[in-house]
């Protein structure tokens, strides 16, 4: 179970690679278009320290962005669940903002804030927070009548208790979307780095693209996929533990 994701990733990655080599050798493409296995091994020997450092940096930003987006979605979810004008306004505003593609907004963020941690973090969290927001708003606005009834009839249901009851009762839903949005966090980081950063694995891919060096791209993809699989495995393990702990 623990290694399922990593095994799945290896199967997927090497299937893709096999398909690529299949195309290369069946229609006789040159090593310039699709590099040979020897080229890929040579390139990886040359660049692995830089790429590993870059992927670790991107991973750290992805995790930070993920945490930030969870906090952001949780706050907006709580505010949006309020039955007031403010709540409705915030909910509508959050949906409207998300209607714009983040990739289109990203240049504005880079122009205003320059390169660095904050804009990358911001773009990462913007990309992965929407599914989280939808879930949080849904969960926090969905009553649990069989528990809340007592507090309602005795007029003792505070908003904090209401949120706690609903979050607890829908924890499986919340944990699933947190797990699902982790991949989006890494996607967001890479997009941000690809667009304008000067470090990270997304930046390395943009350089490889400008050099038309597919070997580098394939190595970067391997490292990205492998690191995401590890993050998801750790996340799923942590959540399973939390879930088991809360039920027994």
């Amino acid at each position: 179970m623990l290694h399922n994701r990593i095994i799945q990733f290896f199967i997927l990655y090497f299937s893709g690679l096999t398909m690529l080599f299949g195309i290369k050798y069946s229609i006789g493409l040159s090593d310039y278009v699709i590099p040979s296995i020897i080229d890929i091994v040579d390139t990886s020997n040359r660049i692995w320290p830089v790429y590993i450092r870059a992927v670790i940096e991107s991973m750290i930003i992805a995790i930070m962005g993920h945490v930030l987006s969870i906090i952001l979605a949780c706050i907006i979810g709580i505010l949006g669940s309020m039955h007031s004008f403010v709540g409705t306004f915030i909910k509508a505003g959050a949906y409207q903002i998300q209607a714009y593609p983040v990739v289109a907004i990203a240049p504005i963020i880079f122009i205003l804030m320059g390169d660095g941690l904050i804009p990358r973090l911001l773009i990462t969290s913007m990309i992965c927070y929407f599914p989280l927001l939808l879930t949080f708003v849904g969960v926090f606005t969905e009553p649990v009548p069989d528990i809340e009834h007592y507090y309602n009839v005795t007029n003792t249901l505070s908003w904090k208790l209401e949120i706690k009851i609903r979050a607890y009762e829908h924890q499986k839903k919340i944990l699933t979307v947190i797990e699902g949005s982790a991949t989006l966090a890494m996607v967001g980081t890479i997009v941000a780095e690809f667009l304008s950063a000067e470090s990270g694995i997304g930046y390395q891919i943009s350089i490889a693209l400008s050099q038309s060096d597919m070997a580098k791209v394939l190595i970067a993809l391997f490292l990205i996929g492998f690191s995401i699989s590890i993050y998801l495995t750790v996340l799923a393990w942590g959540m399973r533990r939390k879930n088991v702990g809360s039920n027994f």
Binding site: I147, H149, Y150, V153, T156, K164, I165, Y168, E169, S246
Partner: protein, 229 residues
């Protein structure tokens, strides 16, 4: 103190009529019953009486002042992260500790204190739920199948305890146990389907405070209720 339902009419989606000019009155505090066949609208009427639903027509008159009519059902749960003790500690003032611990003992559930709600049996769940309502400040408590899945002797023990400990309050007990209702309840409101006139019949039960029964009288009473439905 009395509680009156006056000319209550109610329908679902303005098409399917459930109540047609229902009127009855609970004139004194005590242990009363709302009885009727399944689906006749007992829970709906209870919700209307406690203000959880608004009828199309009619009024509920509660002459007990500011304290409210509370409705409880056997469908309720406690928050999943709390044990029974944690929950009671969070909802009751500290000076009621002896009272709720004594009630747990009387209700035969003192061994449930450190369990979570989902770990209890159905009967235990209903009893721990009932305790938290009994200790509220209310003028009337509507108990919708609150003692379901509790064995007969324990049910009788609990009903007698409620009758002796809270004589100043109104309890309206919704149950399908005809014998129990006849034995312990004072006023019995028999609710009938919408075609009957009147839709709510009011009968008088034995209103016992102990287990001494006059079998003949009880039998007559039970027949009266069964015929009324």
């Amino acid at each position: 103190m009395y509680l009156q339902c006056k000319d209550i009419s109610c329908s679902y989606n303005k098409q399917h009529q459930v109540f047609n000019h229902i009127t009855f009155e609970i004139p004194v505090p005590g242990f009363h019953a709302l009885f009727g066949e399944s689906g006749v609208g007992k829970s709906t009427l209870a919700k209307i009486m406690s203000g959880l639903m608004i009828p199309d027509k009619g009024t509920i008159i509660n002459q007990s002042g500011s304290s409210q009519i509370i409705y409880t059902t056997n469908q309720e749960r406690f928050p999943g992260w709390q044990t029974i003790q944690m929950h009671y500690d969070s909802i009751f003032p500290k000076n009621t500790l002896d009272q709720w611990q004594h009630m747990m003992h009387i209700f035969g559930i003192d061994n449930c204190l450190h369990s979570k709600f989902h770990q209890l049996s159905l009967g235990q769940k209903n009893r721990v739920n009932l305790i938290r309502y009994l200790l509220q400040n209310h003028s009337a408590l509507i108990m919708d199948e609150s003692l379901a899945n509790v064995d007969e002797s324990m049910r009788e023990k609990i009903i007698l305890y409620i009758k002796t400990q809270f004589p100043e309050k109104i309890f309206i007990y919704i149950s399908h146990h005809v014998r129990e209702i006849c034995k312990f309840c004072d006023q019995i409101v028999v609710l009938r389907s919408v075609g009957h006139s009147p839709q709510a019949l009011q009968l008088t039960g034995q209103n016992l405070y102990n287990n001494t029964i006059d079998s003949e009288k009880l039998k007559e009473n039970m027949l009266e209720i069964v015929h009324a439905t």
